[in-house]
């Protein structure tokens, strides 16, 4: 990696709370960030209303059963 790419990768590492990441983790970070951005953008194309509740919700019944 060039110095610029290393700097970019370190900035991304800081963004996700990784301190002194190993080179194996540092190197794939730019592509990982780009992949996540692509997926997030695809999801944002979908408009939601206030009535759209998530599929995964807290349930008192279920919590009590555990």
């Amino acid at each position: 990696m060039t110095d610029q790419k290393v700097d970019d990768a370190r900035r991304l590492a800081a963004e996700i709370g990784l301190e002194n990441p190993a080179p194996e983790v540092l190197e794939p970070l730019p592509l990982a960030a780009a992949t996540a951005a692509k997926h997030r953008a695809a999801l944002k194309a979908y408009s939601l209303s206030l009535a759209d509740e998530p599929a995964v919700v807290f349930s008192v019944e279920e919590a009590r059963e555990r």
Binding site: A36, A42, P54, V56
Partner: protein
């Protein structure tokens, strides 16, 4: 007794029950085949012939005393190596878990043990059911028995390869974004992702809690139904387990499709993504067969495929990163490079994205399930393309996106991958049958009618053909490009 390697579970069950076949003889035939061919297919991570013979002797003794337990009594099977078998390592095909000895059986292992099935070993997977075929792990990736230079799909790669190669009549896989149905399609076998919660995930290494499913891969539809009937059932120790009695699928399989309403979800593979022409033609031909058998066929449409895939990817990457964050920080070098690359995007997904993906999931699921007011079964693509070469990194990466399987991990309903023929290069083609939650019996009934009207389940890969004598696309000799292939571990 001949051809035990390709014996169907349904036929084996009859022969074993009537004592025309010995479970020991059956196990020995498959052990010999695995010993002869698996060094070039790599379906097994841990081959356990001694356990198999012990199970087979026990089955033989029980059946001789009149205690036949059911259709899997004395029948060999394998487990994807993310599924626990007490006393053996569950490695997830990873250095991270290489010393992870299972303390107890997974729920499905316990079910198969109670059914008297014969355990043959642990099967290859993509690392943590996510990575893809990697050459930097402690074991090599499984190869496609129809052409070992090609990818065999994944992540339940060993399960698909072992059933197609005649090593096992049935195997257990898992599916979070299509990992049972992908190897089923790539290897020309049948793979069921049942309704979320129908099969317990207890004792199975998680990838993404809300998308993970466990299910069977077999060579025939009836065998698949028989295995699902064994492993389904409520498990109070799996928080996602459905309060559902079981599957009860095999008994209804011969009811036919006359009058059944079949919807073809064509825009997934001819507009949202454009499938390989041979794959699309195979699906269309299968639909025509179902129509000729008396099904009422119409086209259906739903949200674009991209919406389902984005929803699956955000949820999957978030949940998978939650599972792997600690190891990625502490032992990054112990993952394969491809697995690290696939896990790390989860670090960049924000909490709001995850919540919104789950809001979208609910809307997509509601709208998709509403289609079943007008149709009983939906047909669509599984993979968009036949298996690519295993050493073609670019195409391997593309193959994960070029699929229509992940939508049904999002909706949670059942989806069955069924072979529909072969490409001109000799590689399997497949379709997917999709139903409303807990309609597995109807999917098997539809797939069985199609299977009976076609001959794909009778074809076998030719494991002994050398490249010089084989036609293009059926070579099973080492290519020499990918280095030596270490043998699977052997266990007592």
């Amino acid at each position: 007794m001949t051809d035990l390697e390709y014996l169907r579970v349904a036929d084996a069950a009859r022969l074993l029950r009537e004592r025309e076949l010995s479970p020991v003889e059956y196990a020995r035939a498959l052990i010999a085949r695995i010993e002869r061919h698996d060094a070039r297919i790599n379906a097994f991570l841990r081959f356990t012939p001694e356990i198999a013979l012990e199970d087979a002797r026990r089955a033989e003794d029980e059946i001789a005393r009149g205690n036949w337990r059911g259709p899997f009594h004395g029948v060999p099977y394998g487990l994807k190596d993310i599924v626990d078998y007490a006393g053996l390592p569950t490695t997830a095909h990873s250095k991270i878990l290489i010393d992870n000895i299972a303390k107890s059986d997974a729920f499905v292992t316990g079910k198969l043990r109670a059914a008297g099935a014969v355990f043959m070993g642990k099967l290859s997977t993509h690392e943590f059911a996510f990575g893809g075929p990697c050459f930097d792990l402690p074991w090599p990736p499984a190869r496609n028995p129809w052409n070992r230079d090609h990818f065999c799909g994944g992540s339940s790669s060993g399960s698909g390869a072992a059933t197609a190669a005649g090593f096992l009549p049935a195997a257990i896989g898992s599916d979070t974004g299509g990992s049972i149905r992908n190897p089923a399609t790539m290897c020309g076998v049948v793979g069921m992702k049942a309704t979320y919660g129908l099969v317990s995930r207890r004792g199975v290494v998680p990838l993404a809690f809300s998308l993970d499913h466990v299910g069977p891969l077999t060579r025939t539809v009836r065998d698949n139904a028989l295995m699902l009937d064994v492993i389904a059932g409520h498990d109070p120790l799996d928080p996602g387990s459905a309060r559902h009695a079981g599957a009860g699928c095999a008994g209804q399989i011969e009811a036919g499709v006359k009058g059944l309403r079949i919807g073809v979800l064509r825009h997934f593979y001819d507009r949202d993504m454009v499938a390989d022409p041979e794959m699309a033609a195979g699906i269309e031909a299968a639909v025509k067969v179902l129509q000729d058998l008396g099904a009422i066929v119409r086209e259906v449409s739903t949200h674009p495929l991209s919406a389902y895939l984005a929803c699956n990817r955000i949820i999957l990457s978030s949940e998978a990163y939650a599972v792997h964050e600690k190891w990625l920080r502490e032992r990054p070098g112990d993952y394969g490079a491809r697995t690290r690359q696939r896990l790390l995007p989860g670090a960049f997904v924000k909490a709001a994205d995850y919540v919104n993906a789950n809001r979208v999931r609910r809307r997509l699921s509601h709208d998709f399930h509403a289609l079943f007011e007008d149709v009983d079964v939906i047909v669509t693509a599984s993979a968009m393309d036949p298996a690519c070469r295993i050493d073609d990194d670019e195409k391997i990466e593309l193959t994960y996106g070029r699929q229509a399987r992940a939508p049904f991990n999002v909706t949670g309903g059942p989806a069955l991958a069924v072979p529909v023929g072969f490409s001109t290069a000799g590689l399997p083609l497949g379709m997917q049958l999709v139903g409303k939650p807990f309609s597995e019996a109807l999917l098997y009934r539809t797939a069985y009618a199609y299977e009976q009207a076609s001959d794909w389940a009778k074809r076998r890969p030719r494991l002994d053909v050398s490249p010089a004598r084989s036609r293009a696309g059926s070579s099973l000799e080492p290519s020499g490009l990918l280095g030596p292939v270490p043998p699977a571990m052997r266990d007592g």
